[in-house]
Subunit: 92 residues, 2 copies
């Protein structure tokens, strides 16, 4: 399913780690703190477990939204999308 992942993490190192993990799982950045990817149930579950472990004892929140094709087609975007800056992702 099409999947949106949004996060709110104030620690720079942890935020970069989460972003890098999302990239490793094939997602692409759609906003500074939002990623998109097409994931089956198993891959989404693997990602969730990895993020669960990563966030243990840490402050922050990550939300995953799997979307059926009908919902995904209802999405709307206003304004330019985020220009990806890879240094936001690669820097620990």
């Amino acid at each position: 399913m099409d999947t949106i992942v949004i996060y709110d993490i104030s620690d720079n190192a942890l935020r970069s780690k989460v972003a890098r993990t999302l990239l490793e799982h094939g997602l692409v950045r759609i906003q500074k703190s939002a990623f998109y990817g097409f994931m089956n149930h198993n891959n989404r579950e693997k990602l969730r477990l990895r993020l669960d472990r990563m966030m243990e004892g840490e402050e922050g929140n990550i939300q995953l939204y799997p979307l059926c094709s009908k919902c995904f087609n209802l999405r709307e975007s206003i304004g330019e999308t985020y220009e990806i800056k890879e240094e936001d992702v690669t820097v620990l």
Copy 2:
């Protein structure tokens, strides 16, 4: 439909204006740059038009994701949710 709105706006004043508009339309903050609310088609369209006008000639991106109940029930959240700081919203 349950609706998620996420934004990526670097200008402080514009970001606050967008956040205040989302609150005025009955949405609640679920992350620093993400809101949730239950909206019918008409209200969502009114909000979209208002945000469209607000973003004219401005830099930034806002995305709206209406979710059917099946999709909404599939959402997952990791870690604590954002503690709302009203000064983020009310300051122009």
